[in-house]
């Protein structure tokens, strides 16, 4: 999923300062899974903002709504009619959601309450770890399903580097050395041969694109 974390309240307050009627909009998808933007988190943030307004003697109307997803036009449509009643929308969607909503309601003020961080997995309750950098050219088949771009701090395709110690990365001693993992797994699977040849330089244009990347599927058009 896409993970995100709530911005500090001081930053959020600064963004919403000019506005009195605020719609706090959550997303029931990725950000709910990582406990930063789902219905509960919408409730927490709205409650905190209402209390804050009261303490400062400010007038504020803070309403809550949570969409199943904030990145799909069909779900965003549900805000039609509602959005016009507010001065601003404080979105707890990821960056994709915030912009998708802003794209459908271009006259509205949509503000991000979260810092979108990475694509990752829920490793265990309360722990999310990055594991994909959306390079557009998945090579996991050659690296025992351990992404060298994401999980090696130096993105080596012919690793490890000289800093790998006892299976840990020199850059983050809590992180496993991805190359240690790759070598061990391929060794166990009897496929160390996959590492014999020099893996050539990546085609980064697939990740970088020429500006924002897109996918077009004719067969999916309604």
């Amino acid at each position: 999923m896409i993970t995100a974390e709530r911005k500090p309240l001081s930053e959020i307050k600064e963004m919403i300062a000019p506005y009195k009627k605020i719609l706090v909009a959550g997303c029931g998808s990725c950000v709910a899974e990582c406990a930063s933007g789902g219905e509960k988190e919408v409730g927490l943030l709205a409650s905190a903002l209402r209390m804050d307004a009261k303490m400062e003697g400010r007038e504020a109307e803070i309403k809550e709504v949570t969409l199943d997803r904030q990145c799909v036009y069909e779900f965003i449509d549900q805000l039609t009619g509602l959005i016009g009643q507010y001065d601003a929308v404080l979105s707890l969607g990821c960056g994709a959601g915030v912009q998708a909503v802003a794209g459908i309601f271009p006259e509205a003020i949509i503000l991000p309450a979260l810092n979108t961080t990475f694509i990752g997995q829920t490793k265990e309750a309360g722990l999310w770890i990055e594991n994909c950098r959306a390079c557009g050219d998945c090579k996991l088949g050659y690296f025992a399903a351990v992404c060298p771009i994401t999980r090696c701090a130096k993105g080596l395709f012919n690793g490890p580097c000289g800093g790998s110690k006892e299976g840990k990365c020199e850059v983050d001693p809590d992180a496993p050395c991805a190359w240690q993992l790759i070598v061990e797994r391929l060794d166990k699977a009897g496929r160390l041969d996959l590492l014999q040849k020099v893996y050539p330089p990546a085609d980064w244009s697939k990740q970088q694109g020429k500006g924002p990347r897109k996918i077009r599927r004719e067969d999916q058009i309604v």
Partner: protein
Amino acid sequence: MRTDSRLKRVLEKGYFAVTAECGPPKGADPKVIKTKGKILKGFVDSVNVTDNQTGVVRLSSLAACVLLKKEGLDPVLQMTTRDRNRIALQSDVLGASALGIRNLLCLSGDHQSFGNQPQAKGVFDVDSIQLIQLVRQMRDNGVILGGDALSAPPRIFIGAVANPFADPFSYRVIRLGKKAAAGAEFIQTQCVYNLPRFMEWMNKVRDAGLHEKVYILGGITPLKSARMAEYMSKQVAGMDVPEEIINRMKSVPAKEQRQEGIRIAVETIKALQAIEGVRGIHVMAIEWEEAVPQLIEASGLFPRPEL
């Protein structure tokens, strides 16, 4: 491929080679480099200049190499893949060759988070092995990545690094083989304090026949103090400093520790000379270049051969 690399000629002729490292300053004064060059001249065959080591901004390796060349030394340009993409790297290889620099050491480099610019974007467009391969293509096939022909190929003696003390131990020699196959011609290792472990690594290297494919130069860093020994042991990744060495440094009063460090280094050099497949040493006397002449003389490696 013919080059004017002194290092290459020394190794080809079978002499035990001596290279050293010159750390560039955190400033624009060329005198620092010239001074270090003068200290090392005559005691070494070639001089490496590090490339923004540890991610700390310093006078560039390429510029320092040119300054050293003017002093009559044979420089080894170091290029990490952390700061430059393939366009810049290939361009710098052409530029270095045009300036008469004939040795290139290819490394991935220390991660940018360690240095004084932790907010910098780490490029890592290619890794060290891909770099070795592409430099070899430029030199031997006269093409850059993607196949476009060069009007004039660079003349470069290609080097790489090896760390016999990092994990996973079993895979290290396989990776060395990969570097050799990619085009590495000489190897400079991480500094050696743990001789038994180094010899174990060399056994594996010889078993794989790699000592005949690449010239291996063992790394030497003379210890300045017991504190340095401890620091390197605990704080520097990929470093193996045995307890005996640390204790030996501790057993000597502070003002005699430098000499003890030199003594240990000389013993290590002599031991390396006796190992089959070790074709030289690479002295990394960081910010202690003045120790190099003493070290080389005490090891019986002075004067350097006349070619």
